[in-house]
Amino acid sequence: MAQQDCLVANDWVCAEYVRSRGQELVDATLQHVGITVVSIAIGLAVALPLALLARRGKAFAGPVLGLTTALYSVPSLAMFSLLLPLFGLSAALVVTGLVLYSLTILVRNILAGLEAVPEEAREAARGMGYGPGRLLWEVELPLALPALFAGVRMATVATVALTTVGAIVDYGGLGGLIMSGLRSDFKAQVLTASVLCVLLAVTADLLLLAVQRALTPWTRIRSRRPSDTRAAKVVEPA
């Protein structure tokens, strides 16, 4: 009985809420994770060619970096709204908006990572007869992985937070619960969904860190400045 009271009293923390609406929370979380994962995956697929294009010279780098930075300045609500005529009320709208945001961070980090590849490593690979494609996949990208992962982690954390705004078109994952909680003045729902959102961001960050460490064992052997701090300076969208 005492547990039911917290729903009646509209307390911030309410175990009964989590118990009785568990399914709702799980569904919203799954939608949240789904939107985030798809956005980051598409974001990476778009960012890589853009970074390679930007690397070809100043004529390409200027427009690519300028455009992605400008996109980042557009407030999220406006970004989703501008996409409304193209996509209608759909998950594709939210994913597209999030992809456009992630590009800023991802393109810059991939570019920074590629530019930090030591010229000797490239020379050595060329000397061994590596063509441009093999050089990219087997030498440059692996060496750029720490910077790339720093970017993926930042973009993922930002995307988890921004997904909530998708609630404006009813595809906001946990943001939907936050908005419906606001409309019905349901404090436990708003707080629980908000906390889950932050937990989701932290979990994703730690998971990606673990993957990065597994993929780049050499960064822990050599004693040098962690690439994380170097990349973090470059990527902060201005």
Binding site: V74, P75, P85, A193, S194
Partner: protein, 225 residues
Amino acid sequence: MNALPDAFVWLTTATNWQGEKGVWHRLGEHLYFSGTCLAVACLLALPLALWLGHMGKGGALAVNISNIGRAVPTLAVLVLLSLTPLSKYGDLPTLIALVLFAVPPLLTNAYVGMREVDRSVVEAARGMGMSGRQLFLRVELPLAYPLIMTGLRSAAVQVVATATLAAMAGEGGLGRIITAGFNLQDTPQVVAGAVLVAALALLVEGVLVALGRILDPMRGRALPG
């Protein structure tokens, strides 16, 4: 695909600009929220960051605070604050949220800017007999200036974006035109509102870039190295 012409019609209709729900009033609210909160955030964050940077303390705090700022959803904070008793004081919850989200970029960039001043330059200044105060005002501050301005620009963009989201928590500002458009299922109004918000954000960013160049204390001087 008539959305853009229809949005243009919405924007060029005089009645949409007048009155309490009109563009001018919403723009005024937006600028009032954003300007006040940016000023308060600067007063809070910059002295602290510059002092920490000068003393070389609190680095972990300054860097982590910006990571935390990125992980916490703006919308969640706006809604949470609007459900607290603070909402009795009108716009106060929104103003607090705006300040909270403007502080991290200001703090982190100003701190990093101070710490990245070339140590050999600082040593040379000390060797010339500069006091801590002279060192701060004549060496560290001018050299940290570009990053301080980057922080200000990020904070301004963040504040304009957060002030837009405030509409989803029931507050005023230009975002209200967008949310009202969604409620009315009026796509032209949604797009028109979004165009206004995006234009404002890009304008603010552009003005701050220009201002940063004009005020640069190192302007016209040869860069070392």
